[in-house]
Amino acid sequence: MVRAAEQARIADPATSFRHEALLYGGQAEFLVAALAFIRSGQAAGEDVMVAVGREKIDLLRGRLGREADSVSFADMTDVGRNPATIIPLWSEFLERSAGNGRPCRGIGEPAWPERSEAALVECRNHEALVNVAFGAGPTWCLLCSFDEDSLDEHVIAGARATHPYLKNGSGPGPNVDYDPGFRGWLGSDDPLSPSPLSRQQMVFGASSLSDVRSAVTEYASAAGLARARVADFVLAVNELVGNSVRHGGGEGELRLWTEPDTVLGEVSDTGSITDPLAGRRRPAPEQAGGRGLWIANQVCDLVQIRSGPGATVVRVHMAR
């Protein structure tokens, strides 16, 4: 529940970032709202980017006709398959628009009912982190759409908790259900599901990186991952293990297991990640180190971080 003081903290919409949720029932309702949002932006000379599913992209292109030429479209099921890569997508859009000297707005739909439970949790974490990433920055507007008809109630509740503004019939208004203290995985007591007893497990230290890679290569190959995907999975796990060695106390534990459609790797150590946006900022060329989580996010289908004082777990998922 957001009290008056918290309402005041939702800063002046004219001069700051607006993170709005659109809860819609059915494609027609989405279409009407999205077209109005896009056309408003175009009328104001703004750059517009729309990152939604293929079907919605086709619908919008059809309706916009020639006007679609000035809109950037991205297939969210592709660019946002791993929700942790969505913030950098918007960051780059923001930078491009600023470079063009134009304000901007975007529509994104990161959550869809076919997503796994774990991915939907990370979508919610992503939405909370959008507020962290953009809240104190330049003025722009991001509208996130959620299909109330097909998404579970807890996903809709998560949407309500993570968006300071809610779009309704009469225009967007401050959202009383917004929880400004929620920063995704950081400080949350939302643990990962337990790994099964059938898992393979090994401890590692500084001198065993290549042993770890061999074990992961063997496991992932036997689990039926294609060769290029095995290489990506091994790279990601290697990055997590390297982080444990470098930042997490010098050693840790690796677990490997499978779900029907997925190979999973999980690295635990006694370190602590305190940056909520770790792995979600594109590394600068001159940056020294700090690329491990970014790399894991690029190659894996899902990356989940849970970290507090003295304990970090990073779990990566690779679809088979």
Binding site: S210, L235, E239
Partner: protein, 100 residues
């Protein structure tokens, strides 16, 4: 001849440094050491680089900076697929002189 699993093999001759095997946190020190002894423009021959991670990448970045600081260049010759992949996903491909 490929190096043993997890190992890095370096041959250095007149500014041309051939690197084969795995370049990671454990082995990157060997590369740094080998390049310390090279002056002038450095050509890293990398088609035999079977594995490279962010630590290995940092080693290559450091080598480039060291070369540039003394007024020279670093060239990546025939980077392996593994290296290209990591360069592209970290937006560094355009930062290097690459020779095929």
């Amino acid at each position: 001849m490929k190096p043993a699993e997890g190992e890095l093999e370096i041959e250095s001759e007149g500014g041309v440094v051939t690197v084969r095997g795995d370049l990671d946190m454990e082995t990157v020190g060997q590369l740094t050491q080998a390049l310390d002894e090279v002056s002038g423009t450095v050509v890293l021959v990398l088609d035999g680089l079977s594995f490279v991670d962010s630590s290995g990448l940092q080693g290559i970045l450091n080598a480039q900076r060291a070369a540039q600081e003394r007024g020279d260049e670093l060239v990546l010759r025939r980077p392996s697929d593994a290296l290209i992949r990591v360069l592209e996903m970290t937006d560094l491909r355009a930062s290097f002189v690459i020779e095929t």
